[in-house]
Structure formats: C-alpha cells, structure tokens
Amino acid sequence: MSHRGVVYTETVVHAAPPQFVADAPYQLAIVDLEGGERRTVRILGGRVRIGDAVEFAEDRHGIAFFRKKEGGL
C-alpha cells in the first residue's frame, strides 16, 4: 500500500458500531492513494477535507490510520 494520498470523500461518524463506541466521534475517509488504489481509512489528528493530502500514520489491528500531510501536496 502506498503511504500517501488525497482525500476523495470523508465523514465524521457520531453513531458508532459497538466496537468503536469509545472512538466516536471519529473521521473516516476514502483516500485515493498514489499508484491508483482507493481505500477507506481512519483519520488521526485534525479533521481533513476533500482534496487534502494525507499520509499513513499507523496500523491498529489491521486498520490503516492516516493524518493530514504537513506542508500540503
């Protein structure tokens, strides 16, 4: 998986499924990764908007967390 991409769309989930209740509200985004893959990821830190550049932050139990890339594109 590429470690950099651009936010294609996003949402902030307030009504979370049982296993993520402690995380709510949390941001989820579909990211267009460099190389062409599109993937649903979680966002760490500040909220992102469509078109924002993001980069991989960490993996938690198989879930990819991304954050806003400093310095933009």
């Binding site: 949402t11 989930v13 307030h14 499924p17 995380d23 579909i30 599109r38 649903t40 879930i63």
Partner: protein, 386 residues
C-alpha cells in the same frame, strides 16, 4: 416472454411491534394478498421470500418454507432471496421472470424484516454486513457513514446543500403523516430537519430511514389470467435487476449508482418509455441523499441537479412528479427485506386509484426503485394500468 401483472397485494403496517414475530408479519401480508385475489394457498405454484437478515435479527434460518407453512403453502418451491435492502425487489424480479417465461402462473412474493427486537447498535452492525466487512466496515464504516461520504462528495462536486437534503426529509414526513400504515406519522419543518442530531456528517437523524418491522406481499400472474383475480391488474411494463461492486471504495464515481442507471436504462428500453413518461415513483430513500441521486440516475434531472429538484418542491405529492407519496423509507419505514415489495404495493395502490389522501393525480405509469447496500444491487420496475 408473456405479459405479467400484479393481481393482488397485501401489507402490514410498518413500525415497531414488540409483540409480533417475523412469521406472523409475513403471514399477515401474504394472507391479505391471497384473500384480496380470492386465491387459496394450494393454487400457489411457487413462493419467493425477500429477507435480508432474519437469521441475525431473530435467529431463524430456512425462512421461505417457514413462512410458507404459516400461509398453508406446501409442496412447491419456497425460496429466500437475499440482496441486502433489495432482497424483496430481487424476489419480485425472479417471480416476474419465472411467470413471464411460462414456468408458473401464480407466484406469491413476500418481503419481511423483523428488526426492532435488537438494540440500535446491534441493528447497525447487522446492516453493516451488507457492506464490505473486510474493508470499509472493518475501518469503522456504518451505512450512514457510507451514505454520508456519498453526500459529501455530491456536495463537493455539484454544490448540493444541507437544505437540499432536508427538503427530501420534510416532503417525505409530510406524506408519511397521511399514510395510515406508516411508521412515523409526524410532519417536520425545515428548521427541525436542519437541526437534527448528527449521525454521520453531513447526515443527521432526519436524513436516515427508520428501523422498522413489517411485511408486504404481491401476487404475480400472467396478464391473460389477471381478470380471474382482480378488476384492476397492474401490468409489469418492465423490470430489471443489476449489480455493481459491494465496497463503496471499489466504485469509480460514488455520486451515482451505476447499478440503478443500468437498471433504469434497461427498464425504459423494455417498456418503450423514456424517463419523462414516468408520472410518479417510489424510490429507495434509505438516506435523503439516495433520493437525490435516484432522480439523477433515473434520468428525471441532469447529473448534479437532484438537490435543487427536491428543494423546488417538484417531487411533492402534488408536484410534477410525486416521489415517495407513501412517505418513503424515511417516514413509511424501512423493514429492509420488506421494502422492495412494499414499494410495488404502493405503486399498485396508486395505479388502482386506492391511495386515499396520498393519491397522485396522474397515475397511469409508476416506477419503483429498490437499492441494495451502497448500490451493489438495484431493481427497477415500471408498472402501468393495463
């Protein structure tokens, strides 16, 4: 292929019914349908049941013969169809196909879901099983989250606004308030809709359909035999079922449901009609954004103009093309496995002129659009006075 008609319908109320089980709801709808058409259960040649998640919601499997037995239907093929929220649309598609092909004359189709016996977070988790559980769902997506992301992208590309979404909710609640079988019979204002509790941004509680119990049934027969059962058959002018990727992040463009577009194109071609010929419709408004996208995918407005179309009031009960006169999934309720056949019943009632306070003015040609998941299954049906 021979012409086919819907010659009987039956519905339960949609709502939260703690003292009712899945089978009693399905049997009530099926029995009403058979009684209306004056058909005894032993005349039914096949029974098709649409149900999304009975095994998860109520712990019962082998549902088609389980329900059929309660209706007195025995010895014939009894089959369950599962296609998420398009489960009974798919069952209806296969019933029409088998009658059109000459395989059977009388097929009873039923849709049922019993959802309210589980707490909301568990319901949400079961519904998420209609998404890609190895990808988007694992990362934390719920169905409101998937449609929230669709709404965000639609807003970004086309300037769709929260007011556009709210206009759909206000209209649907206004209709649902007049529907004696609706789950939520409450008018809401634009201000209320805009101030709803957030569920998955930009969607609030007023953008989401309801968690409901309910069932609906339709009897399908060859048109040439329709007069044996009813004075007011509704002819199936066209029907199409299509598919697409299950995962939202596997779709190239999430502002459109490709499966709906394809099903619409096929159905219009089969019926020899254009989008402009559709006088009214029941569309799959699982979320307000889905109704806006449906108006674009089914060709009533240009891509990106669905939001403004809703806000202008043209889809209201007395507008140019009433959408979801029943109140839609938003207000009528959304017992997911019952929704597809429920829409067929609502369109048939309009064609018969039996929709009471919800009767639309022009009722000769109506459409039903049933969507599964975030667009992996679509069923589009066009019905007409025969």
């Amino acid at each position: 292929m021979r012409p086919v008609a819907v010659v009987g319908i039956g519905k339960t109320a949609f709502g939260a019914f703690p003292d009712r089980d899945l089978r009693s709801l399905a049997v009530e709808a099926g029995a009403k349908c058979l009684a209306e058409a004056h058909v005894s259960p032993d005349k039914i040649e096949a029974f098709y049941l649409g149900n999304f998640a009975g095994p998860s919601f109520v712990g019962q499997n082998h549902l088609a013969p389980y329900v059929a037995g309660g209706l007195g239907i025995e010895g014939v093929p009894c089959t369950r169809f599962e296609a998420a929220c398009a489960s009974s649309g798919s069952a209806f598609f296969h019933a029409v196909s088998s009658v059109a092909a000459g395989l059977y004359d009388l097929v009873l189709v039923c849709g049922v879901e019993k959802m309210t016996s589980q707490p909301t977070p568990v319901v949400s988790e079961i519904l998420a099983g209609a998404g890609d559980t190895g990808g988007e769902v694992r990362a934390g997506a719920t169905f409101p989250a998937l449609f929230g992301m669709i709404a965000r992208r639609h807003m970004h590309q086309f300037g769709t606004t929260r007011e556009h979404l709210a206009a759909v909710a206000v209209k649907s609640h206004s209709n649902g308030a007049k529907n004696p079988l609706a789950h939520m019979r409450k008018v809401i204002t634009m201000e209320q809709a805009l101030a709803g509790k957030p569920i998955a941004e930009p969607l609030t509680v007023y953008d989401c359909s309801l968690i409901s119990d309910g069932a609906a049934a339709a009897l399908v027969a060859p048109l040439e035999r329709a007069s044996e059962f009813t004075a007011k058959p509704a002819r199936v002018l066209a029907i199409a079922q299509t598919s697409d990727a299950v995962a939202l992040d596997h779709k190239a463009d999430i502002t459109t449901f490709r499966a709906v577009r394809l099903a619409g194109e096929k159905a219009y071609k089969m019926a020899g009609l254009s989008p402009a010929d559709i006088q009214f419709a029941e569309v799959h408004d699982c979320f307000t954004i889905a109704e806006i996208v449906a108006t674009e995918d089914l060709g009533w407005v240009k891509k990106g103009e669905g939001g403004r179309y809703a806000l202008e009031g043209r889809t209201c009960l007395h507008g140019e093309r009433p959408l979801n006169a029943s109140g839609g999934l938003k207000a009528k309720g959304h017992p997911v496995g019952a929704t597809g056949v429920g829409q067929i019943c609502d369109v048939v009632m309009q064609i018969r002129g039996e929709a009471g306070d919800l009767q639309v003015a022009r009722n000769e040609v109506g459409l039903a659009e049933n969507l599964g998941g975030s667009g992996a299954t679509a069923v589009v049906t066009i019905l007409g006075a025969s």
